[in-house]
Symmetry: C2
Subunit: 462 residues, 2 copies
């Protein structure tokens, strides 16, 4: 028996190859046609959970994609940790041919592993499974572990809340850990204490009852594409704030203290330019870039659909136009109320020359995690020992709705212990996972499990 | 030998079947992949020209799709007529599944023949070829005929002007006829005396250099989809007029006399609603609906492209967004100058947070045809004898750039003798051609050829 860290060093190459196998599976949850691939990924995750020493591993059905569950409860009296992750991935549609290599053929390049899901979230949940395996095979797990790995995160986890609610006894734990976020940088890891929520919806504008010839009818019909542009344009004020009545009513102001803390890990304009490549920052002028991307709510257009999108010219005046839109939300905004406010605003902005319809796609609550618990302190120490540096505390702009669910249902701390980097290209082309992050992530999780195993359940739960 | 009208009656069913064969060919000129089908259509048109008695039939190559030419010059001293049409068709992309039957499987339903190109323009040019055949086989053609049938009309005839210029002697005639327009109604045929021109272009907006995660960067990056919507929205004023500096400078005002004439064939709001199905008219309030769709310039969006267009949710903040836009133009607007004005306006509307680019796709000049010539009188009589009713004079909102080319190059009258109906669904789903229009169209062309054949070339040329 060696120690888990040495074991990890000896297995580094093998674990990378195993991760590649998982990335090869095209588990795109939003595409019905990929349901079989999503299931294959679930089965491979289940197999690795067994390999990590989980004594019970089960694939639960849901109305859409399965949930993988694995547990080892062989440490009576020790705390129980619930580790959440997801094995589904974002789509890879690539009209601009930006992917340099096939998204589902993982390739190592300059210390990174390229492939859809490498960072979000296959690589990160895999690091946690392998950390458990390293402990299980080298002296045994120091605490009880439950893994919950879902296949619907990228479509807003429509069935997860119901699953958790109806399996509360099975899932009950003293602390939850999620690795699905980015650290500030390889040199400076970070622990997330706040996440934005989400309201995702479609806005559809209809005009004529069928596509018309623009030569024949143009000038007399309010073109639905144009009307949609007018509505979308009107949803922001010129200063970048959102023009939806009541939108900011429940936004909790950022305290002076927190603003000062955020200012300590600034997002500089040059760093912003390096990472986005965009010509100039945009957004609410009275908030810093770091605040805009994490502590303030947003409204984004994700897709415009309508009319002719082929090569060359077609002079159609189309019957319909559609936009995919989402809002990132902060405490205490309610995703359903925001949907209602947007619907009302779109109705108000719709002239009598067209009709409009707002259809919700999915929701997620914003979340704030208390940063002064013993569990968080265990995580800070785990980064120090496992990653090699003390972490900073940060807000995260993305949405992980299950964080709010865990807090609400189990009243336990939820630790956001991420291993990604902000330039990983999650959701975009050429997604990658830094292999040094993968390695340090596994080390951090080994250290975290060790730290929590030395505590009592009551200490962990805080 | 019977007379051409009786011959037509006996051949009615056979001609419909022949037209169906032509519609079956998927001659979509804008799609490179359909180039072979476009050529097949050219060959079938050539075959019918031979059947109509043309003594020389030739397929000319161009850089893209071929031009079909056929002539019979066996009436020395008689006038020469140049009959133009096109055998290419619009695309049939059908994301909303609106086509009730396959676009390239022509089907007769309630007196109409459904299929892409049935009305625009296969059915109409076919009517003219069959009218020539009816005369050729029943007493002989009364005048010299030249057919010019191109395969690039739906992509803006990029090679036609050059072809005409370099074949002036071959094509020289005393009058030109084009059947590619709609009559007012089956009961009231119409002759078009003005056509709108066209400037078709793409507006592209770029922001970040790759697609980003909206959770990670949203709120700090000017979303190109939103910026595009803002630019598109700003290209119109709230009253429906176009907000492009200088756009109206060269628009010839509609004379009081012409406004009075237009008012005699009004487009009523109820008829507009019946045909468009849209909730309420839109556009410049100081112009009547008929004026808006024919005598005034427009700016239309034909497609919006960018971001995620699939099923469900993807939270991408895309790098690019594109709009397909065209302007219908009236005398004396110049299509190239309008492109320049739009480019300048888009530049002015582009904030420093994104980049924009305007790319021209194609152009067409507006045209006005003198309505007091002997040739027009021959056409009026032809409708009376062939269609059965006296035609009214109308403007047409669409664009047929070759009209301006013929006038400019040969200084001859160009007769727009159309057989379509405005609800034929040209360019949209379920395009159809009324079979009674097809029949009366053939009769009208027989009568027109007879009328012109009784005149001298000088009388025809006017």
């Amino acid at each position: 028996m060696s120690d888990p860290f040495s074991y990890l060093d000896s297995m580094r190459g093998a674990f990378i190859n195993e991760l590649k196998e998982l990335i090869q599976i095209e588990s795109i949850s939003t595409l019905s046609a990929k349901a079989g691939e999503v299931r294959r990924a679930a089965e491979l995750v289940a197999q690795h959970l067994r390999g990590a020493g989980m004594s019970t591993v089960q694939i639960f059905e849901t109305p859409r994609h399965p949930v993988v569950y694995g547990e080892w409860l062989g440490a009576p009296g020790a705390p129980t940790i619930l580790i959440y992750g997801h094995y589904d991935v974002q789509p890879v549609d690539d009209p601009e041919k930006k992917w340099l290599t096939d998204p589902f053929t993982p390739v190592e390049r300059e210390g990174n592993l390229y492939g859809r899901g490498s960072s979000d979230d296959k690589g990160q949940i895999f690091a946690n499974i392998k950390a458990a395996q390293a402990l299980a095979q080298n002296g045994g797990l120091p605490l009880n572990i439950k893994f919950l790995v879902e296949g619907e995160e990228e479509i807003g986890s429509p069935n997860l809340d119901h699953f958790i609610e109806s399996h509360q006894e099975l899932l009950r734990a003293d602390v939850a850990v999620i690795s699905d976020t980015a650290v500030l940088s390889l040199e400076t890891p970070s622990i997330i204490y706040a996440l934005r929520g989400l309201t995702y919806l479609e806005i559809e504008v209809s005009g004529p009852e069928k596509d018309l010839h623009s030569g024949q009818w143009g000038g007399s019909v309010h073109n639905p594409l144009q009307a949609l542009c007018e509505i979308i344009a009107a949803l922001h004020n010129p200063d970048g704030s959102i023009n939806v009545e009541g939108f900011y009513d429940k936004v909790r102001p950022i305290s002076a203290e927190e603003r000062a803390a955020i200012a300590k890990v600034p997002l500089t304009e040059s760093e912003w330019k390096r990472q986005t490549g965009a010509p100039q920052p945009w957004g609410e002028p009275s908030y810093s870039l770091r605040e805009r991307v994490s502590a303030r709510p947003t409204l984004e257009v994700h897709g415009l659909i309508g009319g002719f999108s082929g090569e060359g010219a077609k002079t159609v005046l189309p019957a319909h136009a559609k936009a995919k839109v989402s809002c990132r939300l902060v405490n205490d905004q309610d995703p359903h109320e925001i949907e209602h406010l947007i619907r009302r605003q779109v109705e108000k902005l719709t002239p009598p020359t067209v009709r409009s319809k707002v259809t919700p796609i999915n929701y997620g609550d914003p979340a704030v995690v208390p940063i002064d618990s013993a569990a968080i302190k265990a995580a800070v120490d785990a980064y120090q020992r496992g990653w090699g540096t003390e972490p900073v505390f940060m807000r995260e702009g993305g949405s992980i709705p299950v964080v709010a669910t865990f807090s609400r249902m189990f009243h336990i701390p939820v630790l956001l212990v991420g291993y990604g980097l902000s330039d990983d290209g999650a959701h975009g082309p050429n997604e990658k996972f830094n292999l040094e992050c993968f390695y340090r992530g596994m080390r951090t999780m080994i250290a975290l499990l060790q730290n929590l195993g030395k505590m009592t359940p009551a200490q962990v739960k805080g």
